[in-house]
């Protein structure tokens, strides 16, 4: 069926293309601004004349960055945290999601566990009691304070559980009749089928570990152990709160800090997420839609 478009139809077309394009461009510009500053000359950046293209292109802030030991130490700390924390999250998510995906018929206590999980998601001790606990466990200033409190990502467990649930029951029953035990069924049948969903939740927990900064602030004291985002956070706050510093400190900061140098650090911190993002994007929409299908 061919209909000639009316003027109002064209108006709708034009408006939608223009508005969504503006919205999408607005998502890139702040990042572009940071990248442009990081490649610009110091004086141009301090004068605030850099927009979306480097002024007096230079790699000097990146050369400076290569000499910044603390940046690389915290970068390494973050990588270790992502690997250790991501692995713990992955194993626990699968181990919890699989049994919870079984119906009450096969696993009578399932709902009891589910209510427990939902409770922990909705109600917790909060900042100070958790801090006191970590302190009493002697985990302050260790990586365990960063990876163990969030070891069970309950939301991810529920997403993966819903995925397992949507796989046909017959898979389980057929294997059961062939004499396979629950562990074999989980490892040989269900996990291979759930790879896309497992990848989604794992990428989510990797990004979360990479982006976490607050636990680094409160639980880690030695500067050699802080994760990268905490390092960047302290750097930025230091510069903004100059009002609270002594004149000597302000002097020190103005000597060592510069807008271009910080922009370079911020951009390098962003890069791992930008690299993972295409993989993440491939899966997370389906992952979310699957997670929202309640059975």
């Amino acid at each position: 069926m061919v209909r000639s478009k009316s003027i109002s139809d064209h108006v709708i077309d034009i408006i939608s293309y223009i508005v969504v394009t503006i919205m999408a461009v607005s998502c890139i510009l702040p990042i572009l601004n940071t990248v442009a500053i990081s490649f610009s000359d110091k004086s141009a950046a301090q004068a605030g004349i850099v927009n979306f293209w480097p002024v007096d292109f230079t790699l000097s802030s990146y050369q400076e960055l290569l000499r910044d030991d603390l940046f690389f130490t915290s970068f390494r700390n973050s990588v270790i945290r992502v690997i250790v924390g991501g692995l713990i999250n992955l194993v626990l998510t699968v181990l919890m999601a699989y049994p919870l995906s079984k119906s009450k018929r096969y696993f009578p206590q399932r709902n009891m566990y589910m209510w427990f999980l939902v409770f922990t998601m909705l109600f917790n001790g909060g900042l100070i009691p958790t801090y006191i606990l970590i302190n009493n466990l002697h985990m302050l200033d260790t990586i365990w304070a960063l990876v163990l409190p969030g070891a069970v990502p309950v939301f991810n467990v529920i997403i993966l559980m819903n995925f397992f649930k949507n796989l046909p029951d017959e898979l389980d029953e057929a294997a059961r009749i062939d004499g396979a035990n629950p562990w074999i069924i989980m490892i040989r049948i269900f996990i291979p089928l759930a790879v896309p969903s497992i990848a989604t939740v794992t990428l989510f927990s990797i990004v979360n570990h990479w982006n976490a900064f607050f636990d680094g602030i409160i639980y880690i004291n030695s500067s050699s152990k802080i994760p990268l985002q905490t390092y960047i956070q302290q750097l930025v706050v230091e510069i903004r709160d100059t009002s609270m510093l002594t004149p000597e400190e302000i002097l020190r900061i103005s000597e060592v800090s510069s807008r271009t140098f910080n922009a370079a650090k911020v951009f390098v911190t962003m890069v791992p997420v930008l690299i993972v993002y295409p993989f993440l994007q491939k899966y997370f929409v389906t992952g979310l839609v699957m997670g929202s299908v309640k059975g």
Partner: protein, 308 residues
């Protein structure tokens, strides 16, 4: 795969190896959850004590509800609660409105490749941390930043956005929407994929313009999702976004920008008033818990939403 007859299903008896296996699979996670989510609940006792770390939770002096009554005597507390609710509610409204508009307009974009490109770009900010974005925005919004350059170019005096009590809240809401609108649109876009294409065709035959179709087919298709998302967001009325505020605020804007979570952090872990901080935090948790329970009840009742 062979179809299994229902009658052939093995009979369930009390406690089998299978059920035992399921319990064992859950065990490591449950232990960690009990340690890190349940044990801290006992730590909430310090909200009713005059907690001194050296004496421990059990050894500190019990003061009953004193911390709670004292909390409301501090003028800051009331201001902080007010700030939290204003910022959170503004974020909830904008955070539903903008993604819906975006989803509606993106749905009108017919070119598939362009649509995917736009989606890829707008989902991205969601995955960047507030530390990074805090740094990006403080640079952009500073007196010699890019935003003030444009403002000056059109002849307006530069504005100190992050140091002004007039501008801080709008900046918080706008940057929050900027970060999350793409991701928030996913649920609406998913709802739109299930709209029957025949409806549009029938409407076109009846002479409805694209605008009329948008108004009478696409928008009504989103209403259930909008209602559901609004209901569920009720639980966030006391969540104004710690990470964001923490990375953008400074003492100049405590008056309008300090929220419960940042207040608890400064009171508890910076000024070391553990009991008072915990009392404020507990009050927030209890109210939030109530709100979430109500919102789930409503969502379940009116939209058939189930948690699990």
């Amino acid at each position: 795969m062979t179809a299994v007859n229902k009658k052939n299903k093995p009979k369930r008896q009390g406690f089998t190896f299978e059920v035992l296996s399921y319990h064992i699979m859950l065990l490591p996670g449950m232990i960690l959850l009990i340690i890190f989510s349940i044990i801290p609940l006992f730590g909430l006792l310090i909200a009713f004590e005059e907690y001194v770390p050296a004496k421990g939770i059990l050894g500190s002096k019990w003061v009953g509800l004193e911390n709670f009554s004292y909390m409301f005597l501090i003028p800051d507390t009331i201001q902080v609660i007010k700030n939290t609710i204003i910022i959170a509610v503004a974020k909830i409204i904008a955070g539903i409105f903008i993604p819906v508009i975006f989803a509606l307009l993106l749905n009108e974009v017919r070119n598939r490749f362009y649509k995917r490109l736009i989606q890829t770009v707008v989902y991205m900010p969601y995955f960047l941390s507030w530390v990074i974005l805090g740094s990006v925005f403080s640079t952009m919004l500073s007196l010699d930043g890019i935003i003030n350059n444009f403002i000056q170019a059109i002849g307006i005096e530069p504005i100190m956005f992050l140091g002004s009590n007039t501008w801080f809240r709008p900046v918080i809401v706008i940057t929050d929407v900027w970060k999350n609108f793409g991701y928030g649109a996913i649920v609406y876009l998913a709802a739109l994929t299930s709209v029957d294409a025949n409806l549009y065709e029938a409407a076109a035959i009846d002479g409805a313009s694209r605008f009329k179709q948008l108004l009478h087919i696409t928008l009504p298709a989103l209403v259930p999702t909008i209602v559901l998302m609004t209901t569920l967001s009720l639980g966030n009325v006391l969540n104004a976004g710690f990470d964001q505020i923490f990375n953008l605020y400074n003492p100049l804007v405590y008056e309008t920008g300090d929220i419960i979570d940042t207040y608890v952090y400064r009171m508890g872990l910076v000024d070391l008033q553990f009991s008072l901080g915990t009392a404020v935090g507990l009050m927030k948790s209890v109210v939030s818990f109530g709100l979430i329970t109500i919102s789930y009840f409503l969502a379940n009742r009116f939209a058939g939403y189930k948690i699990f």
